[in-house]
């Protein structure tokens, strides 16, 4: 009789706007698609637990509405950090990678830059090191993040959406592994 041990199956978890997830399972990775939204990938490398959130702060010049948006962003960051701490992470050891914040719609206000600035300022205020990521540009991206190892992979989309009259050419994608 031969005994075989199957390798544990890799599990992909898709995160949509306004969501966050945390895991300490080495077989789990998170994926999300970003335009002007930003995803913060945060983990504690020692406790080997991490997570990802996906947020979009609505752009608004009005101070009160701007503060509401900021409070919403902080809320999503806190949920992610608390989730990591509940699984044994320690705030002082956290490190982050930031992705997204593209300017995908020319001519409109740069919401991507606002999301980017918020995320960077939040992490700076909280003393969380930024160890990688990719922000800005004018293209959407798909992100994959392994919360236990901190490995991140980005696929940039070809360009922002255009109205096509003929079948579009196959998209050229730039796969980049970011560790």
């Amino acid at each position: 009789m031969t005994l075989t041990t199957a390798a544990p199956a890799t599990r992909r978890i898709t995160i949509i706007q306004g969501e966050y997830r945390v895991s300490d399972d080495p077989n789990v990775y998170f994926t999300t698609i970003l335009g002007s939204c930003v995803a913060a990938c945060i983990r504690d490398p020692e406790a080997r637990v991490g997570g990802l959130n996906h947020f979009l702060l609505p752009g608004d010049a009005n101070r009160a509405a701007g503060k509401d948006a900021e409070r919403y962003g902080v809320y999503l960051m806190e949920l992610l950090i608390n989730g990591i701490m509940q699984k044994g992470g320690k705030r002082s050891r956290l490190e982050a990678k930031l992705f997204g914040g593209a300017r995908t719609m020319m001519g409109l206000s740069d919401i991507g830059a606002m999301n980017q600035a918020f995320a960077e300022e939040f992490l700076r205020n909280e003393g969380i090191r930024i160890v990688g990521g990719d922000l800005g540009g004018d293209r959407g991206r798909r992100i994959e993040y392994w919360p236990v190892t901190g490995r991140a992979r980005q696929v940039l989309f070809s360009s922002h959406a255009k109205v096509e009259t003929a079948p579009p050419p196959p998209p050229s994608m730039g796969d980049v592994d970011l560790f």
């Binding site: 503060k67 409070r71 902080v74 806190e78 701490m85 509940q86 300022e121």
Partner: protein, 129 residues
């Protein structure tokens, strides 16, 4: 307790950005005496040294969490009646019930708006200006 402009308020939150946002909102509501603490342990020391008239506290914090702080404040005679509001992203029914048993005065959920914070505080200390 009726609201007074010089009422001392203690914000307890382990996220410094949150503390700044809460302070900013309280200032907009007319409060001028605002102190803050990083966690329950620091808040308890501050309350013993110089009690505030109102505590607005997060739940999930290192060292001593919001429920632990509430319990300690209720057990300390000079602060046992101090109004205590929990301001948290956690809206778990069991946690809310536990907080109620410990004597919390109100529970406000994040993300808060200026209006929800005002309503939540007014329910405890009376009409703000």
């Amino acid at each position: 307790m009726a609201f007074q402009k010089n009422m001392r308020v203690l914000i307890v939150d382990d996220t410094s950005t949150s503390r700044m946002l809460i302070r900013d909102a309280l200032e907009q509501l007319g409060m001028t005496q605002i102190a803050s603490a990083n966690d329950g342990e620091e808040a308890l020391k501050a309350m013993v040294a110089s009690p505030s008239h109102l505590v607005i506290s997060d739940l999930n914090m290192p060292k001593l969490d919001g429920l632990g702080l509430l319990k300690a404040i209720r057990a300390h005679p000079p602060t046992k009646k101090t109004p205590f509001i929990i301001l948290t992203g956690k809206s778990d029914r069991a946690v809310i019930e536990h907080a109620a048993k410990l004597g919390v005065n109100n529970y406000i959920t994040k993300p808060f708006t200026l209006a929800s914070l005002k309503t939540g505080i007014e329910a405890v200390v009376g009409k703000l200006q």
